[in-house]
Symmetry: C2
């Protein structure tokens, strides 16, 4: 039996320097989104902090916390109170020297129902994530919550059709992507439009290929750093299972956007465009190779 | 050492009832495209015939031919004469009862350098391809030609990121998709725009995910059939390795479109957005499963 319809809320925010203040803001905005009727609420990647990966600094590891830490405690409390599920990104301290860029799926019970550790770790100028984050070791999963099955992925995972496919094959009805992506100021004029468009396009394509909803919650605003800084491009959005944009945030301000996740729409799209029926699973083995040439 | 730059030409055509006339038209248009400087020229799926898959009729198997048949002979001759590579779709008769929806890659020598048999076979109202075509058994390949390495895929393959990925991992610099896709007249008003947009979006996403050029050559025009007919939507296009549309044909007329395939652009895009670097090949094994739930 399909799940019921529900409202998803994506919180687009501009984290400030103080992690405690960001957590308080997140709790307020979860409360606000729940007030609007959202039952699944998504926060952006690493929302507790500025995007510290703009530089490599061992002191930044102090910003990490265990899964059972302040973030999941505070958000678990509000999730239970409001009976909502919350996608809570954390900078996870797993052991000394083992840190992950993670997402805790907090269900309406207030408990952590699932944990995802970012599998694809970028490392590009001003996105020095390979310095901070051990690649995830929990694979691509979907987590059963009060609203249905949610596939959790994070930012750079957005560029990998394999990740979306595997989370969808696990039964997810929505893929959520907490994100921190933006423009290098010196590139924006020449490449900014194409970059944002590529980012939106590939995620819409994940929706289409898999017949699932896709929701990306990005941070927004300029974060300074010696040598440049990043202008996070906001533009959080929700696409339906045929890639149609249902809601989209501005590129330059904090905002919460909402859309209805309707399992009947998944049924309809997959029935009319039955891509999953015809997958050539006998012929995809090469996908596990690095390159075939 | 990267290949050289070259011009690709996509022939968007409206096949008529007579297969001989269609072949003559194709030869003329290949000649014309070569005259414009194209070195790789792509014809639409099953261009020798009307889209007979609108109905299930055993007599239509008479339209099939072996790989070494009239189509590759005529196109091989013109390819050799003009020193161009031609992507030549054929309705392949392999053995009694074994037919494929195939593409012969004819190199500038005039010889068939590679054969691709459509791997993903659709079957939907008015696209009864499972009746006619045995699923391909040659996998996803790239074929070395005078202009470089070409990944050949066909129509319904467009909806499968796995197919694009595997052809790209084989070293293709361009993925070509001979196509026959259109609107059901009764659906066009309600769904037509979203269908065309999804089709374009997912192929642009293959370009982005893999850092390759993507080229789709569609048929165009209305083909009648008892009970409805299909309005083929044309809109053939070429996208660069970041998904930017370089050229796009009209939705309602025959046309040949051109764009430059520049291996330096692949280098640039993959260097700045190094998605292939970070693939989690250790974690993609589930891709060969039908479903994981």
């Amino acid at each position: 039996m399909p799940d019921s319809r529900y409202l998803i809320g994506l919180i687009q925010m501009s984290p400030e320097a103080d992690p405690k203040a960001n957590l308080a803001t997140a709790v307020d905005r979860v409360r606000e989104a729940a007030g609007e009727g959202a039952r699944l609420i998504v926060l952006p990647e690493l929302f507790r902090t500025r995007y510290f990966c703009q530089r490599e600094d061992p002191a930044c590891f102090d910003l990490a916390e265990p899964v059972s830490g302040a973030t999941t405690t505070a958000l678990g409390r509000v999730a239970r109170e409001l009976e909502v599920a919350v996608i809570a990104p954390i900078f996870e301290r797993r052991a000394p020297g083992v840190y992950h860029n993670s997402v805790a799926v907090i269900d309406a019970s207030g408990e952590v129902a699932g944990l995802y550790r970012k599998m694809h770790i970028p490392d590009d100028p001003a996105y020095y994530e390979k310095y901070y984050f051990t690649p995830g070791d929990l694979g691509f999963e979907a987590v059963r919550t009060i609203v249905g099955s949610v596939g959790t992925l994070i930012c750079w995972d957005q560029w990998y059709p394999e990740a979306a496919r595997l989370a969808a094959l696990r039964g997810a009805s929505v893929l959520v992507y907490p994100t921190a992506v933006g423009w290098h100021p010196h590139e924006k004029e020449a490449h900014g439009k194409a970059q944002l468009d590529a980012w939106r396009t590939i995620q819409r394509a994940h929706a289409i290929a898999n017949g699932v909803f896709v929701a990306a919650a990005n941070r927004v605003g300029f974060e300074e750093c010696a040598g440049g800084g990043i202008e996070f491009w906001g533009s959080s959005f929700i696409a339906d299972p045929f890639g149609v944009i249902l809601a989209e945030a501005a590129a330059d301000k904090e905002q919460t956007i909402y859309a209805e996740i309707d399992p009947e729409r998944i049924e309809e799209v997959r029935r009319n465009w039955p891509f999953l029926r015809d997958r050539r699973v006998d012929a995809y083995g090469g996908i596990t190779e690095r390159f075939l040439f």
